[in-house]
Symmetry: C2
């Protein structure tokens, strides 16, 4: 069956690009620069250790690349990297840029309801830079 992005992951995100089997999405919230990595998995694969070895290697290498990109582009004080899935089981990894003066610090961002709109030009710049830096395909 064709892979379908979970509606809750699609909602409130912008498609940045695709790397191998993984969709990269930008959370539509300028309060916390935040990229989601969504590997195309079988529905029953919801934990990192359940990924086939090749895809596990692909995903962790992409975490490394996305972390480096976020670090270069946003120059945050800290990155928060996580695979949770308590609410949406479709596997997705969070890479979030954090600063000690952001709205949730030092807590994690997941229970913080604060939202701030991106300007269109900021979304475009991030997508273009990420596609170049990470050599992303521009179609899902």
């Amino acid at each position: 069956m064709a892979f379908m992005l979970h509606p809750r992951l699609a909602k409130g995100t912008h498609f940045i690009g695709k790397s191998g089997s993984c969709h990269l999405l930008l959370k539509d919230n300028a309060a916390f620069p935040w990229i989601l990595i969504v590997p195309e998995t079988e529905q029953e694969v919801v934990e990192l250790h359940q990924l086939p070895p090749e895809q596990f290697a692909e995903v962790v290498f992409l975490i490394r690349q996305v972390s480096q990109f976020m670090s270069d582009f946003f120059q945050p004080e800290k990155l928060n990297v996580a695979c949770l899935g308590n609410v949406v089981r479709q596997m997705h990894l969070h890479v979030v840029a954090r600063w000690s003066d952001d709205a949730a610090w030092p807590d994690p961002v997941w229970t913080c309801g604060i939202k701030k709109a991106y300007r269109d030009e900021d979304i475009i710049e991030l997508c273009v830079r990420a596609r170049l830096a990470l050599n992303l395909a521009d179609e899902p």
Copy 2:
């Protein structure tokens, strides 16, 4: 300089064992079965992507092994895996077993103050099983 475990990571945890360059610690809280993976890093290495390639590979493989162990041992509904470090910068990864009736669900555990003591025999059983399953050294 010899590696020193951060006092805030040492406090409230039990040493389970060591795998390569990584210390495995059990959080002393039965409310959330929770293992910390602490790789011995240089002080300036605080992000996953800053790990040397060999150690990055070691750490992510250990995440896979610890996740499998937690899944087998605790049979949780979901695992939460994360590298945050907003409060303690010394790199440490969280692998937490979660259930839909646990004290923090569906939120992440980090801001949940609820604590519950383990029985000594439960700590011993977990440490022995983890050492066997993950082939851990029993000295830091």
